[in-house]
Symmetry: D3
Subunit: 293 residues, 6 copies
């Protein structure tokens, strides 16, 4: 691993976790250790850290508590939301595993992400995505009014608007996140990074399946607008401010308004190592420019 890469990830603790531990436990123990350290060094924040992290026995309880307090309103009480989040997480372990993957994604890809607890507490993109994962469950349990109410609270509180029916992969990073809009029939693969003000929208020509399909390992720059049922191939990159109305082949970059393609990768040979769960994917991303803020 080159020195720069080393420097970039300098704050990330040794990974993977010891054999004896599962990923969630390991991340949760990191989060508690970080929060304990911060609570000691910053008494003004200790109350907040105990309330949100240190008083909880697990990541899902901490996350349920934090989301419930962020998203509650005078007419949607925190205890109600807390119940919904807790029972959804406990009935659907993959949703919790996806949250862990998202935490790892933020921690490894975003140089401004100082710690797992920083992401858990402060990243509105992370929190919006977890709320959507719950809303997604509710949507397909035919609890649509509740799913839409959650979408609305997330849109108010975080200015992130993701339809409950959209399908989101694991390891998703919404960096900064303000203004992201993702439509009903959009599908996002694994290990995708999306900057703020990105739209995955429809074109109005169709009524049914009308939103973009984003492949694994895709990077979408700030302010990009992708419209219609187009395919963005795995490992592709969409430049900041682009307006994309056409398919983008795998490992290809699209830029401009309207977007044009500016050269795919010559050697898709190492295809197998970019989209997966492996950390190599991260080094692959680090070759790209203009996506990290």
């Amino acid at each position: 691993m080159p020195a720069g890469q080393q420097q970039k990830h300098h704050q990330v603790p040794t990974y993977p976790p010891p054999e004896s531990e599962d990923e969630e436990s390991w991340v949760w123990s990191q989060i508690k250790a970080e929060a304990r350290r911060d609570a000691e060094s910053e008494p003004a924040l200790a109350s907040y850290l105990y309330a949100t992290i240190l008083s909880h026995p697990s990541l899902t309880r901490s996350l349920s508590f934090h989301l419930a307090n962020k998203l509650c309103s005078s007419t949607l009480l925190s205890t109600l939301l807390y119940d919904i989040f807790l029972s959804s997480f406990s009935a659907h372990p993959p949703v919790c595993a996806a949250a862990v993957a998202d935490l790892l994604a933020a921690r490894h890809r975003d140089p401004a992400c100082a710690s797992f607890s920083h992401c858990l507490l402060n990243y509105k993109g992370f929190l919006a995505v977890q709320a959507q994962r719950i809303a997604h469950l509710l949507w397909f349990q035919h609890r649509r009014p509740l799913a839409l109410a959650l979408q609305s609270r997330v849109a108010d509180v975080f200015a992130v608007d993701i339809h409950p029916a959209a399908r989101l992969g694991r390891g998703l990073l919404l960096d900064h996140a303000t203004g992201v809009v993702i439509g009903e029939t959009a599908v996002i693969g694994n290990n995708v990074s999306i900057l703020h003000h990105v739209t995955l929208g429809g074109t109005g020509k169709a009524v049914g399946d009308r939103h973009p399909k984003i492949g694994d390992g895709v990077l979408i720059g700030a302010g990009a607008t992708i419209l219609g049922n187009v395919r963005i191939g795995e490992g592709a990159k969409i430049g900041a401010g682009s307006v994309v109305l056409i398919d983008v082949p795998p490992r290809t970059t699209a830029v401009g308004n309207p977007a044009r393609l500016v050269g795919g990768k010559e050697k898709p040979a190492r295809h197998e190592d970019f989209p997966g769960e492996s950390m190599d994917h991260t080094s692959f991303i680090s070759e790209w420019s203009d996506y990290i803020i």
Copy 2:
């Protein structure tokens, strides 16, 4: 009506209302029926639905209650806002009629709009527009500090920033709405659809009348920026991400940064049926691409 159209609007109940009913009563009865159905199927949401809709005798009371609870803060109490909204609606029936028109617009133009109550409760664009309509009244009653305080609360809560002096037509749809900015001297016609991140701004060259004038039936795509006292003709369309500094003739499309015109409609013959209050306008809009998300 063609099959596709039929499918698109499949969830919209029979319209127009029976002769014996006015439009507001009809929409309100739809909303109550929807809320009653949702409260029955989803006990977790019933409290919210009763508080916001089912305990109220009219649309304006429900809307006043909902807006007051959304926009209140620790220094602007909900009871104060509720008073202002209620008395404004009762003294100005056209403001309520405009809200009804906006509900119909969302319901008929946005395929993701599942019901009237969904729009009333969850659409930040709808709520922001109604708050602006009230602020607009206050502005011209020389209650400007109060109007500006409302604008500020809407900007904080919904991330939608519309100057109280801007003039908004009926049947306005702000879809997703996050990031919309509309300046002081902007004028928007009837039956206009505006996506998120759209700016109707000034150019700094003038001090007085310095913002765009948007004609009836115009569609403005996500992220479009229109600057200066330019005219966007009726039925025109502004592509997503465009930067428009010039007039756009009626029924013409402008795209790109800076925007160029890409062909007006050959036959303005059927001009009479696109901008009006009629539902035919909707089918006209459905010919366009790229505006629905």
Copy 3:
């Protein structure tokens, strides 16, 4: 001073303050006078004006109170934030002086800014910047978790996301402000005006110093995206919706996606009068188009 200029600034009270008064006292006395006038003419707002302005003995107490009540949450209490803001302002007078300069900037450059108190109470850009100035102090006092918590609250409440480590000059105007994102190593000079949806981001190629450097007196239009460690020279102008990946020389305009330079000023002769603290800088800005909304 030409008539237009006169008209534009018609509402700004005589400036500079009398010799016997410092700038902060003068602005504060203006704010109190405005609030008193508004409280008298609008009883519905009087409670709010007393709570936020008229009950306070100084600008910093008023601002601390207002920010604390805006940014508090169920897990970050207003009294805690109030303490932090008050003690930061009192220990760091330049932070308060910068707030005064920002108030003057909004008042003189934005024709929609009706009064100083309007800016203090309602401008989310102004409030977000002051919160960042406090977070910046905390960051360099090695209270990083607290600084990041503040950044997060500002991102939630105002949809403005400025890293605590970013260095912001005096006289900064974030107009409308929704969606502004400013990265960790960004530097902004004095008397800069930035519209909403502007990004000062990184490119991912570098890990350390990776964000733009904005010179004095620069104007950045709505939705512009500037990426990487590039220099935007003093007095330069970035057009709305531009995507800038390269250096922009002083007094030059960049527009488009990707941005191209469209003619620097021929005569940098009067260089001395544009970036400084002087009000002439404002008249200089008023020559530009497309930045005011």
Copy 4:
């Protein structure tokens, strides 16, 4: 009027109001004048005074606002209560008149009552009684669950527990009020004064009409307990800490546990002037000992 009397009432403004004014308008104008004076002399309280009094056009709106904000909870929103109070007052002018009579009672009988606004804002006894008057209306409109919910909120917030069905006369003073308990079939005449910890309870022997009947002009000392369907004659006095299980004749005093009668008034000659609306009743009360705190 003797000097002592004069001194006692020294702060009470000239009464009755000028011929041209009704009692409610006169009291309301006094309250506004007091609040205006206090807001000027105490900026820290001005926001509170504007919110509760000075921003309202009438006593009933001010009282509805104040009660709604005092009695609301996370599950009974202030806007809901505000609606109920406002509509009850406007449909039942005698309820408002009774509130005015209660304000006059507190002002004239309690030497610690500094002003009408002091009573309106701060007297939990006054506020509890007004809430009960509304609950009483609801009870007899067959809205019993709502009436009981109001009783419960008053019991929580003010520690005053009055059954909605109890009938309360005008000019009622609950001084200090904490711990007062009044049962379902109790009846209280006009111009009665009741200190804190007083119980008007049942005996369990009967199921129907089982609580005390209190005549006009009665005074009940702190901690007195009156049980069963007994009659306390007009102008009688119950000593502090007494336990009363028997009828008490008019103008007689009962003291002790169990209470014994300690001498009725020899001359009921001037009977006609003690219970009525007249202020003479007050001078009559002032002959008694041990009831004012």
Copy 5:
């Protein structure tokens, strides 16, 4: 059953529950039916009834939710309390059974108790006792600071102050409840009724076991004060306002300050039927005077 008794309990549904149902399920089904009926007849309360009762699957969840929202504060969040209540109830079924017994006690003994849901929602005595039962568990789990914090919240919110270590029997009715104080080493048997302002206190002579022991089926009238480690025998009655410093034999009445004994029951023959869980105990109590309000 005599006619009077019949009348007294006229609103109580048929009891016991059908064989196929346990007591908790039966009471819970009654509560839901009552709430459903009230929600239908009173839309203004429907939101509250859904939030507190109708959206919950069980009595313990409803009670946990309601207590958490009543007892939470700005520094003790509702979600935290909700967690504690829920986990305590689910780990200790007898605590839930005691709550059911308390509901039945209120419903059968208090003629003003209109329904089970009325007691669950509105009786501060009922709610205070349930909170103490939880605090009692925590106290003996060596979580004393938490138990004391709960005691404090109950004392603030309900003005009922029961030490977490006190041992409370089943079927306990605190009627009105305001001002009840029960000390650390007090013990209360089953089926006891206690009116408001009752003190079970210490005398200061002893440090260890220093508070009263109350036998089964005892009735303590309003304002009674019982001090020291004295025994109040089963079925005894303490008159309102009494001050008791001595033992009171079973089925004996004590009245006065200081209290004297006023005749035990001649025939303790039917001893077996008064203290137990049986409903006959209620008819026994109904012979007494002066305790019901």
Copy 6:
């Protein structure tokens, strides 16, 4: 020190503090140590303990924060109260010293007082007295409306009603405190203990100085009512439930309704050691019966 005494005070740490420390610092260090221990053993309470105690640099800041959050309402914001409390404490060190003396009094006299932090956080009597001390300052600074507003908040929140003008000595213990009412011209000496439901009221015969004067070291039992400008001599004791209308000589006990004197102390020889600041006073109090709960 006898064994019983030893046992009673077993949890009280060594006193007095080391020579090098002042009393306030010593008590504050004890409080922090207790809170730290509790936060470690009870994660669910850690957030609360950090917010109220551990994040604060001094007792007065902790107390100001805690009172502000307890007493705030939707119309009296916590930041406003916090400001008032903080500035009062810092301008009046004796008020803080009195709070310390009150903490010591609770800790040494009340066997149920487990720790200083328990008293600081949970004793409504302690908190009500500190709020009154602040209100007392405001009263004599001619800020009477604010003082009365504070009295009202304390009466609502703690059910303790002490007029701001009443003069309270140091080392005051209001045990349980619910229902305590203390009138305008009452004076209370040092080291007085008052149980709940105690009234120090007026008799209505006088208008000016009309409330009781309580000497040093007096103990007043639960529910006692003392009316009129009578003197309760130093070291006297008033029995629970007494009604006192006459002077009580020093070191004498009064009991009953109406109260009679039951034997003064024969040997006032050791007069010098009972009322003072010394801890011997406590052992003196421990000779009494019936006051501790």
